[in-house]
Structures are given as C-alpha cells and as structure tokens.
C-alpha cells in the first residue's frame, strides 16, 4: 500500500468514526473556577519544571506581525492571528478568558518611538570624482568594505563606459586597482570575508578569487557535479564566517538550457569544500541567497517573500514584506536578525527588524517584526526606493538606510541617510522590543539617472564608517564617506 492509500485509509476511518458520533451542543468557554485553576496549576507542576517555566512566562508574545492589509482574506488573517496573540498576551496561566475584545489588528510599532538624536559626526567627504554620465558607487546587496576595513570595492559604469570594479582607498579616495572580472553579474563580485586582499566571484562551476594587489587569480573551490554555479539573480555575498550559499545547476541536454531543480551548496571558503543541501524553497528561481554572519541561517528571497531557514534543522519561516531590501545584523545580545527597508505602502515602516526565534528545532512563525523607523515614530513613508545595509560586526548593532529622492521631497525621509543604532533589547525576554536611536542626514541622492545612480549604501563591520552613492542632483554619481562612530 502506498502512502496516499495509507493516509486516505486513515482519513476514511476517522471520518466514519466522527460521523458516527453526535455533535455536542455548543457551549462557549466560560471562566474557569478557582478550584479548576488550582487543579490546572497542580497538574502543571506535576508535569514538570520545564512546563512550569512555560506557563509562567508572560506577555512578551504580544508583538507586531506583518501582514498585508486591505484584502478580505487578509482581514480574516489579521483577525485570526490577533485572536491568538490576545490569548498569548493574557496567558500567564490566568484562569479567566478576557472579556474585552482584543485590540484592533492595525499594524503598529512594537517599540517606544525612537527619538532622533542630535547629529554628532563628521561631515561627509566626497570620495570619488566621476565625469558626466559616469557612475562610481558601492554595489547593492554586498559590502563595499574588505575584511579589515582598509579597502573599498566600488563599481564604475555609465551609459558609454565599460563596467569595471575599482578598489579604492577609503582614506584618500585613490584608486588602488581596477579589476576586469568575468563574473556572472557585475554585482556578484564580493570581498573575501577571510582575506582582506582578495575578492571572490563565481565563474562556471568554480568559486574564483583574485588578489587585488597582485591581480593573480586562484580557484577557491570547484564542483565537477555542477555545470554552473550561481548566487541567483541578486547578490548573495558570503558571510563573515567564511561561508557562501550558491546554487548548483545542471544543463538539461534536451533543451540546452539550465535544468530546474538546482541544489544548494554551502561553500566553506577556507577549506574549498561544500555541503550540499536541498534548496529550502523554489527550484532555482530564487532571487537571493544570503547567509547570516554565523552562516547558520539562510535568507532566501522569493518574489515578495523572504524565507529564513535554519540550515542545521531545516526549520523555515517566512516574511511577507512586499519585496524589501534586507541585510543581516548582529544584535547587542549576539543574536542574528534581518534589517529590512521598504517603501511599499503595505509595509509598516521604512526600517524594520525581523528577529527569528526558535522553539526547539522550529521557528516561531510568523516572525515578529519590529518597526524601527516608520509612521509610528512620526515618519511618513518615503515615496520611492530605500536601500539598506546593516553591520554584521559585534561591536555595534547599526543599520544604515538611504531613501531615494531629493532632500526637499514629499516625505521627511526622502533623500535622507538614516543611521539607526540598536542600543539594546529592552526586556528580559527574547521577544522584547529593541531600543533604538537614529539620526538622519541629507544625502542629496535624487536618482536622476536611472539604475546606476541608485543611492546604494554600505557600512563597515564595526559600524563606524559608511559609504553611499549620490548623484547630488547631477548627471554623475559619486561615492561619499562619513565617519558615524559618534552618531546617535
């Protein structure tokens, strides 16, 4: 008997059993008597100390979960989820069911509104000097900073300029080297996380590296079982632990195209080896594979979703935040979280923090999302694209976002560089909201010239320096640098 037959047989038997029984009259649950409550506590105590620990935990579950408003089904979802949140919020084993209706499910901030801190940092310095229709900028989705913060990787392009990478001295702006790399995508060239002098990229079925000073190439790892390695359509930079998530593809000989069903390789850049796994979701159509700083968690973008997978257990949880920009950040308690930026109207803010939480080998799903900067903090939605970068160092929990548009735009955040510092996690519970401070600064990036003039941003691992691109309302784009050690 195959699996379907066994399951269907069990289902049929269960249906017959239930159909045979009468339906009891509905009796809404009422308040539990004191005696029953005492009995419940007694049984809980008998069951064990671990159980006791669970039932005495209090209301730190009552947090923001993010869903799309406005649709009927979404309204149902909000209400349904809120019903459960209400239970948890009232659930320090109180015997009474709450009489009042739970709070409305409008998306709201879970943190006390952060107060903009006075600016206390250096003035930005223009680091590059591009000509008309020339764009020199940090790449989106990966760090411009090398492993010891001594060099920057920028790319130089333009309508009539052959794209190339430039290694730049962050102190002087001097171009140390120009690199012509045969990567799958110009934006999929990364600093080697363990070697401050090397970049890495994928080429056919190999992970390649280049010493940026000697210009010598080397094979970091080769995978004969794959025809092509990709880090998907969007950048998938390596983690600071020295691991990189890539997809292994085979050609389909019948169509001479890439076959579906790509597998996932977690490449150890130090050893040149990889562990192979099933792609958590999708079959190669994923848009980004970004490992957390530890290499333990994988964030995978799939359309408007971000799926987070614990690589050890395979546990998955997902965020539906309308296709945000995202980056991993290390929080003050050492845990890993996703910093997200979005400009979409259905998301609750500009800068968000999603902190995955485990129960045993499962994620708590849906993941709690805190609004760090958003309408509830007195900020309006920006009208257009937001780029984000977060530090992955452990000294600072810092997130930097840039919002596209002229500083005089139609939102207080338009054309702003937003420097957010997570100063702590307020309470004892893992789910307690973070405390944050933030500062803003005009970056004058008006996005006058299309994609290449995007206001990409990159903060170093220590969270002390940031570079970003701005067209300053002109027809060329340059990279600017700012010391933010004293910000916030």
């Amino acid at each position: 008997m195959n699996l379907n037959d066994r399951l269907n047989s069990a289902v049929t038997e269960l249906r017959q059993e239930l159909d045979h029984d009468s339906i009891p009259a509905f009796e809404p649950k009422r308040q539990v008597s004191l005696a029953s409550a005492a009995a419940a506590v007694f049984v809980a105590l008998v069951i064990g100390a671990g159980l006791f620990a669970f039932v005495t935990m209090t209301s730190d579950e009552a947090k923001v979960t993010v869903t799309s408003p406005s649709e009927n089904s979404s309204a149902q979802s909000d209400d349904a989820n809120n019903s459960e949140q209400s239970d948890d919020a009232n659930n320090s084993e109180q015997p009474e069911e709450p009489e009042e209706e739970p709070a409305p499910t409008e998306i709201e901030t879970a943190i006390s509104a952060p107060e903009p801190a006075p600016a206390d940092y250096s003035l930005p310095t223009q680091l590059t000097n591009s000509g008309p229709d020339e764009y020199i900028a940090p790449q989106p989705g990966s760090s411009a900073w090398n492993a010891d913060d001594s060099l920057l990787l920028l790319y130089r392009t333009g309508e009539e300029i052959a794209a190339a990478h430039a290694v730049v001295d962050p102190e002087t702006g001097e171009t140390i080297a120009e690199l012509a790399v045969d990567a799958i995508d110009i934006e999929q060239v990364y600093w080697h996380p363990l070697d401050p002098q090397s970049i890495i990229w994928l080429e056919e079925n190999r992970v390649m590296s280049r010493d940026v000073l000697t210009q010598e190439d080397a094979v970091v790892a080769a995978f004969e079982q794959c025809d092509v390695l990709t880090s998907t359509r969007f950048p998938g930079p390596p983690s600071i632990s020295g691991h990189m998530a890539v997809t292994c593809h085979l050609f389909d000989p019948t169509t001479e195209d890439l076959a579906t069903g790509a597998s996932l390789l977690i490449v150890d850049l130090a050893l040149g080896t990889a562990t192979e796994a099933e792609l958590p979701v999708g079959d190669g159509e994923v848009e980004a594979l970004v490992l957390s700083p530890s290499g333990d968690l994988l964030a995978q973008r799939l359309g408007r979703l971000i799926v987070i997978t614990d690589l050890a257990s395979g546990a998955m949880a997902e965020l539906d935040l309308s296709n945000p920009d995202f980056a991993w950040v290390v929080l003050p308690d050492g845990s890993e979280a996703l910093a997200l930026a979005s400009y979409h109207d259905t998301t609750p803010g500009t800068v968000l923090l999603a902190r995955p939480e485990f129960v045993g080998s499962d994620f708590v799903d849906p993941i709690v999302v805190d609004v760090l900067i958003g309408p509830d903090a007195g900020d309006e939605y920006p009208p257009s694209g937001t780029h984000i970068e977060a530090t992955v160092g452990t000294n600072e929990s810092r997130i930097v976002a840039t919002v596209r548009g002229p500083a005089s735009g139609d939102s207080p955040l338009t054309g702003q560089l937003i420097i957010v510092t997570i100063t702590g996690l307020a309470g004892a519970g893992r789910n307690d909201p973070p405390t944050v401070k933030y500062t803003t600064l005009d970056h004058e990036g008006a996005w006058m010239n299309g994609y290449w003039s995007n206001n990409t941003v990159s903060v170093n691992a220590a969270g002390t320096r940031v570079v970003w691109a701005s067209d300053a309302g002109t027809d060329s784009t340059n990279t600017y640098i700012l010391d933010i050690a004293g910000a916030n």
Binding site: L3, N8, E13, F26, K29, A80, N81
Partner: protein, 171 residues
C-alpha cells in the same frame, strides 16, 4: 436612526457549528496528542468564532478563519501546554468523542503528529480537508511554494517512517 447593516449574515453560528464541527475535530485530532486536547482546541477556536461571529460570519469562508485560529492555538507553545493540561483535567469521562483508530491507522496518525509542525499542518489540511495548495497557503498565511515544500517533505518523511512508497502526488 442607524442605517441597517448592509451585509447580510449568510449563516448563523449554530448552523456553521453543526456543519463544520466534525471536520474541525478531525483536523484537531491529527494535530493534537489526545482526543481531549483536540476537543479543547476545537472548542477554543469556536469560542473565538462565536465571540466574533458578527464579523467572522461575514467572511467568504469563516471556516478558514476558524482553522487559522485553531492552528495558531495548536502551535502556540503556551497554548499547547495549556491545552494538554486542560485535557488531562477533563479526562475523567468528560470527552464527547473517543477516537479509537485501528492499529495501522493509529500508526499513520502518530507519524503525522511526529512531523515538524508546518509539515504536519500541510499534510492534515491536504489529506483531511482535501484543500488545494492555494487554500492551505491562505490558511497558513504562507506561499504556495512553501506549502508545496512542506507537503513534499512531510510525505517523504511519512513514507520513510511508515516504510511505504510515496505514491503519486494528488495535487
């Protein structure tokens, strides 16, 4: 004078309760550890629905809402403990239904309950409720891709546990 409510309730709570109770109980049974716990879970979800029926009853499919509440309750770490605890208290002959599956089928249910939470939910909603991937995704508030993945993995794990063939997908 207030304007009359413009949306007509299509079904009374009582009618809904009678129509959907058994299916909810079966779903809860697949996801719970005991008869009493599953009854308690259903009662909890239906109590929520009853309290909010003026709103929930207007939904296109109130059953989806109730299932989501029930699944949320079943997966809440607090709720799971509380439900099991209440179930223990109520055990003394108070359960309305005593489900006693045959040996091979009991083995199937044990295997389903041993799956990771999301996989078990997807398997239960697919096989017990006969829901499509889209409907399961709507109830669980995730993508159909995720449902597909959980279902495939759940089936694979069940086939391994039950030492049987997976058989063809009936999606």
């Amino acid at each position: 004078m207030n304007a009359p409510d413009s949306v007509k309730l299509v079904e009374t709570f009582d009618a809904y309760y009678r129509r959907d109770y058994r299916r909810l109980l079966g779903l809860a049974y697949m996801l719970s550890r005991s008869d009493s716990a599953s009854e308690d879970l259903v009662q909890d979800a239906l109590t929520e629905a009853h309290r909010k029926w003026a709103t929930v009853g207007r939904y296109d499919d109130p059953g989806s809402w109730v299932r989501r509440v029930m699944i949320n309750k079943s997966t809440s770490r607090f709720r799971r403990i509380r439900t099991e605890t209440r179930g223990l208290i109520r055990l003394a002959g108070q359960t309305q239904h005593s489900i006693d599956p045959s040996e091979p089928n009991a083995e199937v249910w044990e295997a389903v309950r041993a799956l990771p939470t999301r996989q078990a939910q997807c398997v239960a909603l697919h096989y017990w409720e006969d829901h499509s991937l889209n409907k399961i995704a709507e109830i669980l508030q995730c993508s159909t891709e995720t449902v597909k993945t959980h279902l495939a993995r759940g089936r694979k794990a069940l086939a391994s546990t039950l030492a049987t063939h997976e058989g063809g997908a009936s999606l």
